[in-house]
C-alpha cells in the first residue's frame, strides 16, 4: 500500500511555509504529524498533489503560559509532549486524560496537537477537547492573521473553516475556573481505538455547590465534534441532582447527537451510549468539582 506521487516542500520557517501554501492554493496540503494523513495516502484514499511539510518549522512547537493562567500551544507540538508537560498537567488535567485515549504512544510521539484539530476527524479526541476548553485558534496565511473560536471552526467531517492557503498555527486555552470538575468517558471496542461514543465534560460550581457553568463535548456521534446545549440550560444555577442529570443525559442522547449505524454498532446502541456516558460524565465532573 504505497502512496501516489506528490510534490514535496519542506520549509524551515513559518513565512516560508505560508508563501508556499499561498503559491499552491488548492493543490497544497499541510503535512504535520502524518499519523492520520499518511495511512489515508497509503490506502490511496487521499492523493494530495503537493505536501508542505511543517516538521522542520521548529518555531511552531511550544507550550507557553498565557497571562490569564491558560496555555498557548504551537500547532506542531507533539501530542506526547503536551501529555507529559508539567504546565498542562497542572492547568488542564482533563487534556492529559483525553490525550491518553488518543491511539497509542507511538502515534502520539509523532502526531501533533494542531494537526489533529485541523484534521477535524469527527471521531477524534482533540477537536472535542478544543470545544470543551473553549479554545481560541490562531490561523495564519501570507496575508495575515485571524482568530477563530473552536466553536466556529468545525463545519463538517474533516472540514474546517481553513482556506487552502491558511494554516492553524496556535491553540490558546483559557484557564479553567476554580471549582471546575471534569470527566472523560468513552466506549471504544479496544483501547486506543476509535470511540463508538465519547463525552468530555466540565462542571464549574460556586461556593454553594450550584452550577455556574456546564460544558459537555461529544464526539464520534455526529458530523463533527459537538457541544451540547441542554446540560447548561437545565443545570445552571441549580445543585445538580441525579434525576436532573438523568433528564439531561436522556435529552442529549435523543436530540443533541447524530450517530449512525456501522459494522461496530447500531444508532440505537450509540444513542444509548451517549445517554449512559453523559450521565456518568456529569456525575463524575460534579463529584470532582466539589472536592
Amino acid at each position: 500500500m504505497k502512496p501516489a506521487p506528490f510534490e514535496y516542500f519542506a520549509p524551515t520557517s513559518v513565512s516560508e511555509a505560508l508563501d508556499k501554501l499561498s503559491e499552491l492554493g488548492y493543490s497544497g496540503k499541510v503535512l504535520a504529524g502524518g499519523q492520520s494523513l499518511i495511512p489515508a495516502m497509503n490506502f490511496r484514499m487521499a492523493r494530495p498533489s503537493a505536501l508542505v511539510d511543517l516538521n522542520k518549522v521548529k518555531e511552531l512547537s511550544y507550550i507557553k503560559p498565557t497571562s490569564d493562567g491558560g496555555l498557548a500551544i504551537g500547532t506542531m507540538t507533539r501530542d506526547s509532549l503536551v501529555e507529559e508537560n508539567a504546565l498542562v498537567n497542572e492547568r488542564f488535567p482533563i487534556l492529559v486524560r483525553t490525550l491518553k485515549h488518543v491511539a497509542h504512544k507511538q502515534i502520539r510521539n509523532r502526531g501533533t496537537f494542531g494537526g489533529a484539530i485541523a484534521h477535524a476527524d469527527p471521531a477524534a479526541q482533540l477537536p472535542a477537547a478544543s470545544l470543551l476548553l473553549d479554545a481560541n485558534l490562531k490561523v495564519l496565511s501570507k496575508s495575515g492573521e485571524r482568530w477563530v473560536k473552536a466553536t466556529d471552526f468545525f463545519i463538517g467531517p474533516f472540514m474546517t473553516v481553513l482556506e487552502p492557503e491558511e494554516m492553524l498555527a496556535e491553540v490558546v486555552l483559557p484557564p479553567l475556573a476554580p471549582r471546575t470538575g471534569t470527566s472523560y468517558q468513552q466506549v471504544s471496542r479496544q483501547k486506543g481505538g476509535y470511540a463508538q461514543a465519547a463525552v468530555i465534560s466540565a462542571v464549574t460550581l460556586d461556593a454553594a455547590d450550584k452550577v455556574k457553568e456546564v460544558r459537555v463535548a461529544l464526539f464520534s456521534v455526529g458530523e463533527t465534534a459537538l457541544l451540547a446545549k441542554k446540560p447548561h440550560e437545565v443545570l445552571a444555577g441549580t445543585v445538580p441532582t441525579a434525576e436532573a442529570i438523568e433528564e439531561v443525559a436522556a435529552y442529549v442522547a435523543k436530540n443533541e447527537c447524530d450517530p449512525g449505524t456501522d459494522i461496530h454498532g447500531t444508532e440505537e446502541y450509540r444513542r444509548n451510549l451517549v445517554h449512559v456516558l453523559v450521565r456518568r460524565s456529569l456525575t463524575e465532573a460534579v463529584q470532582q468539582a466539589k472536592r
Binding site: 500500500m1 504505497k2 501516489a4 506521487p5 490506502f43 490511496r44 466506549v187 471496542r189 479496544q190 483501547k191 486506543g192 481505538g193 476509535y194 463508538q196 459494522i263 461496530h264 454498532g265 447500531t266 440505537e268 446502541y269 450509540r270 444509548n272 451510549l273 449512559v276
Partner: protein, 782 residues
C-alpha cells in the same frame, strides 16, 4: 535411555536469529535485477468481463509488463482441486469448482485477481494499477446462504443448475426414533460468522528462472511447499527437481497460507520464466483481507433430543456452509464441523447434513480450528439451551453426557477430513472437566462471588465448555536424519514452519535418541532441494507426524552408529552407551569414539564395501497414521459484563488441555495462549463483513479487529492433562489449534450467565458490545 529433552521446556534454537533481525522473511529476499509485482483485483463481486484495458498501465515509465488471463493462453486453467471430493461418503454430492488463478470471462468475488503488473518498483506497480480500466457488466450479488438456493437466484457458476456446491449427509442410529422418545427437544438457529487468519506477515512469492541451469527457484510463504512445488513443476513442464521451492522464515500461517493454485504460485513463476528476470510479489494488508482465503461462515439449524434427566438421546444438524466463489479445498472444513459436533458426548443417534453453497464471496479454506470451532460452538450452545430448558446446571448436564475413558478407542460413525471413519483414540474427558471446574472455582463463584457482585450492581458470569481437537491426520510426513562429520546432527524435513518451534521440538526428539545437545541439532524445513516429500502444515499434525518420523529415523541412525562403533571398538552393541555425542564402552569410558568420527568412517573414499552398505550415518523415515489422534480439553472463563454499554472484561481463564505427551511444555503453553487469543477474537472482535453489494467492509485493521494485549485477561491458567496415545511411540497429539476452538462457546455461556436473563440466548458466534446490548434489551423486553 534417559529422557533428556522431550518433555522439557527449553529455550528455542531459532530465537537468537529472530530476535536480532537476522532471519530472512520473504520480503527480505533481494536478487539482482528483481522486478516487482502488483495485482489488480476486482472491486465487483459478480460481473461478466467485457474488457480489461491495460494500455495506459503498460505505457507508464517503469512498467515492464501487464498480464491478463488472455496473455496466459493455454497455460490458464482452473485449479486443480487442492483436496479431493468426498467420494468415500455414501450419497455425497459434490460439484467441483476449483479456483481460477486469474479471472478470465467472469468475476465471482470482490478481490478476485484480474491483471498482474510487473514494474521496476512496487510503488510504480501500484501507480500502474490505478491506470487499469475494467469494463464489466455487473451481475446480481449472491451473498445470503439460504437465499443462494432460491430458485431463480443468480448463479455463481452458470454451468451448474443451482448454487449448491455439495450435499453430504452422515448419520448413525435413528434421529427420528430419538426424537420420538425424547421428553424435550430444543431447536435453534445458530450463525457462525466469517473471520480471517490475518497473520502478522502477509503472503509473498519470489521466483527466479535460471535458463542455463534449467532451475526455477521459488521462495514462498506457503504452508505446503512440496505440493506447491509439484504443481508448479507439472504445469510449467518441468521435472520436480528443476523447481526448488524454499520457505523463508514465515510470519504466521494459521491456515490460509496452505492454499495453492492461486495467482501467486500459478502466474508469477510463469512470468519469471517469460521475462527471464527475478520477480517478487509481496501482498499488502488490504490485499490480504481482499485476496486471501478466510473461514467460518455457516448457518446451522440444530436440534437436540433429551430425556428429562438430561440424557442426550439424539442430535440433528442441517447446516449451510459457505464455500465462497469456488470450492478448491473440498469438504475439509464442514467435515471437521460434522465430526466435532459429536466428539465430546455420548450421542447414540445423530443426523447431520452439509449444504455447501457458492456465493460471491472469498473462498473458504481453513483458518486455525478449520471447521472444528463451528461444530463445538453448535453443540455447546445446544447443551446450554437444553440446560436452560431442563433447569439443569450447564456443567452438570455436560458431566452427565461426557464420553467416559472406558469408551476409547471409539468409532464415531462420522467420516472426517482424512476420508476415514473418525476414531477417538484416547481421552479422559471427565478429568478435564473436573480440573477446569476446580481451577476456575466454579462452586465458589456460583455460590459466593457471583451473588456478592450482583448485590453490588456488577454482572459477573462464568462459562465452562468442553472441546476436542482432531489432530495429526495423514496421509504422511517424512524426514531424513543425518550425523555430520563435525558430530552435529541434521534433521531435514519438508514440514513448513510458521512459528511453532519446529527448529526446537524436532531437535528435541532427535537429540534424545542420538545423545547430542539439542543446540547441536540443526533443523531444515521447507526446502524442496534438501528434502522433497511431504504434504503440509495443517490439522495440527507437525509434531505428531514429523516427530514420529524423526524419532524412527534417529533410532535408525543410532543403530547404525552403534553397529559401526561396535565393529571399530570390538565390543558388543549391548555394552555401548551413546551420550554427549560420543559412543563409549559402558565400564571403560576412556574407550570411545565420537559421532563425528563415526560419520567420517561410515563414508569411505577408497577401498571396498560390503554388499547392501549405505554410506553415512543417515536414515530416512516416513510416518502415516491410520487415523488422527484427538486432543481434548475443557475451557473455563469468568467475565464481567457492563449491560449498559455491552463492554466486557475477561477476568480469568482456565484451560485444561490434553495433547498427549508434550514435547516442550513451554511451547505447548504458547500455542494455547495464541489459540485462546484467536478464539477470543473469534467470539468478540473478528468479523469479515460484506455489504449488500459484496464489498468487503473490513479490509484493514481499523475495521477488522483482533485482541490486543489489554483485551486478554490478566490471569490465564493452563492445566496439562496427559493421556498418551498408543498410536505413535512418543504418545504425542497435536495442539496447534486447540486454544482457538472453545472460546466463542464459552464466552456466550458466560455472558448469558453474567446478565442472568432467562430469555437471553446468544445464537451467533461473533458478538460485539452493540450486539450484546441488543440481546440484553430483547431479553428484558420479552
Amino acid at each position: 535411555m534417559a529422557e533428556k529433552y522431550v518433555g522439557q521446556s527449553i529455550r528455542r534454537n531459532e530465537d537468537p536469529r529472530l530476535l536480532t533481525g537476522n532471519s530472512t522473511f520473504i520480503d527480505d529476499i533481494n536478487l539482482a535485477g528483481m522486478l516487482h509485482i502488483a495485482i489488480k483485483r476486482s472491486d465487483f463481486a459478480h460481473a461478466k468481463i467485457n474488457k480489461i484495458d491495460v494500455e495506459k498501465a503498460k505505457a507508464l515509465p517503469g512498467v515492464v509488463a501487464v498480464y491478463t488471463a488472455e496473455d496466459l493462453g493455454d497455460y490458464w486453467r482452473p485449479g486443480p482441486l487442492q483436496v479431493p471430493p468426498p467420494s468415500v461418503i455414501k450419497g455425497a454430492v459434490f460439484f467441483a469448482r476449483p479456483l481460477e488463478c486469474i479471472a478470465k470471462n467472469k468475476i465471482r468475488f470482490s478481490g478476485e485477481p484480474v491483471a498482474v503488473v510487473v514494474a521496476e518498483s512496487r510503488y510504480i506497480a501500484e501507480d500502474a494499477l490505478d491506470l487499469i480500466e475494467l469494463d464489466v457488466e455487473p451481475l446480481p450479488y449472491v451473498g445470503d446462504l439460504e437465499k443462494s438456493l432460491d430458485p431463480g437466484a443468480a448463479l455463481v457458476h452458470e454451468d451448474l443448475e443451482s448454487n449448491l456446491a455439495a450435499d453430504v449427509v452422515q448419520e448413525d442410529g435413528s434421529w427420528e426414533k430419538a426424537a420420538a422418545e425424547a421428553d424435550v427437544i430444543v431447536k435453534k438457529r445458530i450463525l457462525v460468522n466469517r473471520l480471517a487468519g490475518a497473520a502478522m506477515e502477509n503472503r509473498g512469492l519470489v521466483a527466479n528462472w535460471d535458463a542455463n541451469l534449467s532451475l526455477l527457484t521459488i521462495w514462498a510463504t506457503t504452508q505446503g511447499p512440496i505440493p506447491m512445488r509439484n504443481s508448479i513443476a507439472k504445469y510449467l513442464g518441468l521435472l520436480e527437481n528443476q523447481v526448488r521451492l524454499i520457505n523463508p522464515s514465515i510470519g504466521g500461517g494459521f491456515g490460509p497460507k496452505i492454499m495453492s493454485s492461486q495467482i501467486d504460485d500459478v502466474v508469477i513463476p510463469w512470468i519469471a520464466m517469460k521475462l527471464k528476470r527475478p520477480v517478487k510479489w509481496i501482498e499488502d494488508r488490504r490485499e490480504n483481507f481482499l485476496g486471501t482465503t478466510s473461514e467460518r461462515d455457516q448457518l446451522h439449524y440444530a436440534e437436540i433430543a433429551l430425556k428429562k434427566d438430561g440424557t442426550i438421546l439424539g442430535f440433528k444438524d442441517v447446516f449451510y456452509h459457505n464455500t465462497g466463489a469456488y470450492n478448491p479445498y473440498g469438504m475439509t472444513v464442514p467435515l471437521n464441523t460434522q465430526t466435532h459436533t459429536v466428539s465430546n458426548y455420548h450421542i447414540p443417534n445423530f443426523y447431520t447434513r452439509i449444504k455447501m453453497v457458492f456465493t460471491n464471496q472469498m473462498v473458504v479454506t481453513p483458518v486455525r480450528g478449520a471447521g472444528r470451532p463451528q461444530g463445538v460452538f453448535v453443540m455447546e450452545r445446544m447443551i446450554d439451551a437444553a440446560a436452560k430448558e431442563l433447569g439443569m446446571d450447564p456443567v452438570e448436564l455436560r458431566r452427565k453426557n461426557l464420553l467416559q475413558p472406558e469408551a476409547f478407542p471409539l468409532r464415531t460413525g462420522i467420516i472426517g477430513q482424512d476420508f476415514v471413519e473418525g476414531i477417538l483414540d484416547s481421552g479422559n474427558y471427565p478429568y478435564a472437566l473436573e480440573k477446569t471446574v476446580e481451577g476456575i472455582e466454579y462452586e465458589k463463584f456460583k455460590k459466593e462471588i457471583q451473588p456478592k457482585a450482583r448485590a453490588e450492581g456488577k454482572y459477573k458470569g462464568i462459562g465452562v465448555v468442553m472441546f476436542t481437537e482432531g489432530t495429526a491426520v495423514g496421509p504422511y510426513e517424512g524426514c531424513k536424519v543425518m550425523v555430520g562429520v563435525t558430530g552435529k546432527v541434521s534433521v531435514i524435513t519438508a514440514y513448513s514452519n510458521q512459528g511453532q518451534a519446529h527448529y526446537t521440538t524436532f531437535a528435541q526428539v532427535a537429540a534424545d535418541n542420538l545423545g547430542v545437545k539439542v543446540t547441536d541439532v540443526d533443523v531444515v524445513t521447507g526446502d524442496s532441494g534438501q528434502w522433497s516429500w511431504g504434504v503440509g502444515a495443517f490439522a495440527s499434525r507437525g509434531i505428531t507426524l514429523v516427530g514420529t518420523a524423526i524419532h524412527n529415523a534417529s533410532l535408525k541412525v543410532r543403530e547404525k552408529a552403534l553397529n559401526l562403533a561396535s565393529k571399530l571398538l570390538e565390543t558388543p552393541v549391548e555394552e555401548l552407551e551413546l551420550e554427549d555425542g560420543v559412543v563409549r564402552i559402558a565400564d571403560m569410558p576412556e574407550k570411545s569414539i565420537s559421532l563425528g568420527e563415526l560419520a567420517m568412517r561410515s563414508n569411505p573414499t577408497r577401498g571396498t564395501v560390503e554388499p547392501g552398505m549405505e554410506p553415512g550415518l543417515e536414515a530416512a523415515s516416513y510416518y502415516g497414521p491410520p487415523h488422527g489422534v484427538t486432543g481434548f480439553g475443557c475451557l473455563g472463563m469468568i467475565v464481567d459484563v457492563d449491560p449498559e454499554t455491552g463492554k466486557i472484561k475477561i477476568e480469568k481463564l482456565v484451560i485444561t488441555d490434553d495433547c498427549g505427551q508434550p514435547v516442550n511444555p513451554m511451547v505447548v503453553d504458547g500455542q494455547l495462549h495464541g489459540g485462546l487469543q484467536m478464539g477470543i477474537g473469534d467470539g468478540f472482535y473478528e468479523h469479515l463483513v460484506y455489504d449488500d453489494y459484496g464489498q468487503l467492509l473490513t479490509a484493514s485493521f481499523m475495521d477488522y479487529l483482533f485482541p490486543q494485549a489489554t483485551d486478554m485477561p490478566a490471569k490465564t491458567e493452563i492445566i496439562h492433562s496427559i493421556t498418551k496415545t498408543s498410536l505413535n511411540p512418543l504418545g504425542i497429539k497435536g495442539v496447534g489449534e486447540a486454544g482457538a476452538i472453545a472460546p466463542p462457546a464459552c464466552m456466550m455461556q458466560a455472558f448469558e450467565d453474567a446478565v442472568g436473563l432467562k430469555d437471553m440466548f446468544i445464537s451467533e458466534s461473533i458478538l460485539n458490545p452493540s450486539k450484546l446490548y441488543h440481546y440484553i434489551q430483547k431479553a428484558k423486553g420479552a
